[in-house]
């Protein structure tokens, strides 16, 4: 591509020396994108925007926050009452975490259904799982900062997970705490790390995008575009589609912030931390509940911790567990059923994680946990062998146009279905 595609002489001058405009044009404007992407492909850009919202509001909050056990809670209340627009900024940050996870979970299930983790996108998928891990660590440490009861006891419970490690467990926990319990040194380092990790996420997101643009987006039918007739330029087709999705996302986000800002939080976190008394029911934030359910389902300390981390670890090796060459679930009749069973299983785990660990809930948690691992370790490898996929369309265009050569109206109708 030559520099003279830009009419502005200053842009041309800069681009000749630093091809930043060529790069942006290539990756954001003319970038060829499969023309059959549905709205589930909006969630990648939504996740990116959520990350930006979290970083911007987070930096601003840090200007008024004090990471000290004696002042942290008060400084957050001061943000809510005295700092100009502080209530708004904190509610954006607080609910932004939940919305970020909603978006990312949908993004992940999209990838699971359409086989976006399969060759040649294995590293793209693995980088995504790494982002999820970093997000979980960041969200956990952020939740500790207001230093309410849930902050304190959440920090205590989660750091104690590491005490399950044989031999060195206790030393590791002491190291994490910087003392003999969760205290001021813990709060200080959590603040430092909570500020650092979003920027690590930005780094991995950049790698995620580089890996994505190597082969381009997967698409709902999972076959590769065979040429320019199967793709459209990213701009304006998908910028417009992403902006439309963004406007819906922001409407829901704003409605939550202004009308139900504490819906996804826990009232006990408005009680200052008290190391002498644990609240009667302690539960993590909703986005950790499925993992929390897995932790509690295993009746052994080390086993529970391993199962919980295993639930994420298994995602890393997913590209080698599902050996079926067919990407999209649309053409895998049996996989499709198991996919929705798996979605239901994850929702069930989320529900069970929020219930008390007693009676029928324990039994159900164990069944759901077993199913979670069965899905990845037995069902997916088995399906790769025994399932007969439906015939694939010959090309993206064929599937979009319904096998006819007519343009226009036919594709518009198809898109709505």
């Amino acid at each position: 591509m030559s520099a003279d595609k830009f009419s502005n002489p200053v842009v041309r001058w800069v681009d000749h020396r630093l091809p930043i405009f060529t790069f942006m044009d290539h990756e954001l404007n003319e970038y060829p994108t499969p023309k059959n992407l549905n709205y589930f492909w909006n969630f990648g850009s939504l996740a990116g925007i959520s990350l930006v919202i979290m970083i911007v509001t987070g930096i601003v909050l840090a200007m008024s926050y004090t990471p000290h056990v004696d002042y942290a809670f008060q400084s957050v209340e001061r943000i809510m009452r005295d700092v100009n627009h502080g209530w708004l900024i904190r509610y954006i940050h607080m609910n932004g975490a939940s919305f970020f996870f909603i978006v990312v979970f949908i993004h992940i299930f999209r990838g699971l259904y359409y086989g976006s983790y399969k060759a040649p996108r294995e590293l793209l998928w693995i980088l995504g799982v790494l982002i999820l891990l970093l997000m979980m660590a960041t969200a956990f440490m952020g939740y500790v900062l207001p230093w309410g009861q849930m902050s304190f006891w959440g920090a205590t419970v989660i750091t104690n997970l590491f005490s399950a490690i044989p031999l060195v467990g206790d030393s590791i926990v002491t190291l994490l705490w910087g003392g003999f319990s969760v205290d001021n040194p813990t709060l200080n380092r959590f603040f430092a790390l909570h500020y650092l990790m979003p920027f690590l996420i930005v780094g991995v997101v950049i790698l995620h995008l580089v890996a994505l643009h190597r082969f381009g987006s997967n698409n709902p039918i999972g076959i590769d575009p065979s040429g320019p007739q199967d793709t459209v330029p990213f701009h304006p087709y998908y910028t417009i589609k992403d902006f439309f999705g963004l406007s819906i996302f922001l409407s829901l986000f704003a409605a939550t912030i202004f009308f139900f800002p504490n819906f996804m939080g826990h009232p006990d976190n408005y009680i200052p931390a008290n190391p002498m008394q644990t609240p009667a029911h302690i539960v993590p934030e909703w986005y950790f509940l499925p993992f929390y359910a897995i932790l509690r389902a295993v009746p052994d300390k080390l086993g529970g911790v391993l199962a919980m981390f295993g639930a994420i670890a298994v995602l890393f090796i997913l590209p080698w567990l599902d050996r079926s060459p067919i990407r999209s679930g649309n053409f895998r009749p049996i996989f499709r059923i198991f996919f929705w069973v798996f979605v239901a299983d994850c929702i069930a785990l989320g529900y069970l994680g929020g219930m008390p660990a007693e009676g029928i809930y324990v039994v159900l948690s164990r069944v759901a946990t077993a199913w979670y691992f069965l899905h990845f370790l037995a069902i997916l490898p088995l399906l790769s062998v025994i399932e007969t996929p439906r015939p694939l369309p010959q090309s993206l265009s064929k599937s979009v146009l319904g096998g006819t050569a007519l343009a226009g109206a036919a594709s518009a109708v198809k898109e709505k279905v």
Binding site: V56, T57, V60, M63, S64, R78, R81, D82, V83, N84, H85, G86, L88, I89, A407, G408, A409, A412
Partner: protein, 184 residues
């Protein structure tokens, strides 16, 4: 789709005008949206409600002997309160306005000539001038001297020599009683 195909060439400008309007309107809305989101993020750096609430203090001046000065903290800045001697008052009052860089009579700068109350921050670049303690350098005009860049203030706190452009600032204050000053 079909409509576009049936358009004649002459129809295109009118159509384009409407499209341009939509594009410009969209950009304008996006701009307004971004600005309204940016404002709270910037405005949060302004003083918070509790900071503004701490804006006034009361000071007991009955213990300050003639010739002595005290420094109190108001809004994070030092406020100089000097109980001036007769000599200091006379010399401050006898200065010709034409000799001053920032002309102001001594009367304009005090409520009670015995007590000079002013913010102890040099109007040049914000250092705290010397002259409050016995033994401090008081400058060539027997008032205050800023060690950072050499500004000399007289016994009324007016700039006489050096780079500072203005006299030392007088904070809003009033005598709550003979012995107590309320600043702010």
């Amino acid at each position: 789709m079909t409509k576009t195909q049936t358009l004649k060439q002459g129809d295109i400008p009118a159509n384009m005008g409407r499209r341009d309007f939509i594009v410009v309107a969209s950009y304008a809305m996006a701009g307004i949206g971004l600005a309204s989101v940016a404002w709270p993020l910037i405005d949060q750096m302004n003083p918070a409600a509790d900071t503004l609430a701490l804006a006034s203090i009361e000071v007991d001046i009955s213990k300050i002997e003639v010739g002595q000065a005290i420094t109190v903290k108001w809004r994070g800045k030092p406020v100089f309160i000097r109980h001036r001697s007769e000599t200091e008052i006379t010399s401050a009052q006898s200065v010709q306005l034409s000799d001053l860089k920032d002309p102001q009579t001594d009367d304009e700068r005090v409520t009670n000539p015995q007590f000079l109350v002013m913010i102890g921050v040099c109007t040049h670049l914000g250092c705290v001038p010397l002259g409050q303690k016995t033994g401090d350098v008081k400058g060539e005009y027997d008032g205050w001297f800023c060690p950072c860049h050499g500004s000399h203030y007289d016994s009324s706190g007016r700039i006489r020599k050096g780079p500072a452009p203005l006299n030392l600032e007088i904070p809003p204050y009033q005598f709550a009683s003979d012995a107590v000053i309320k600043i702010g």
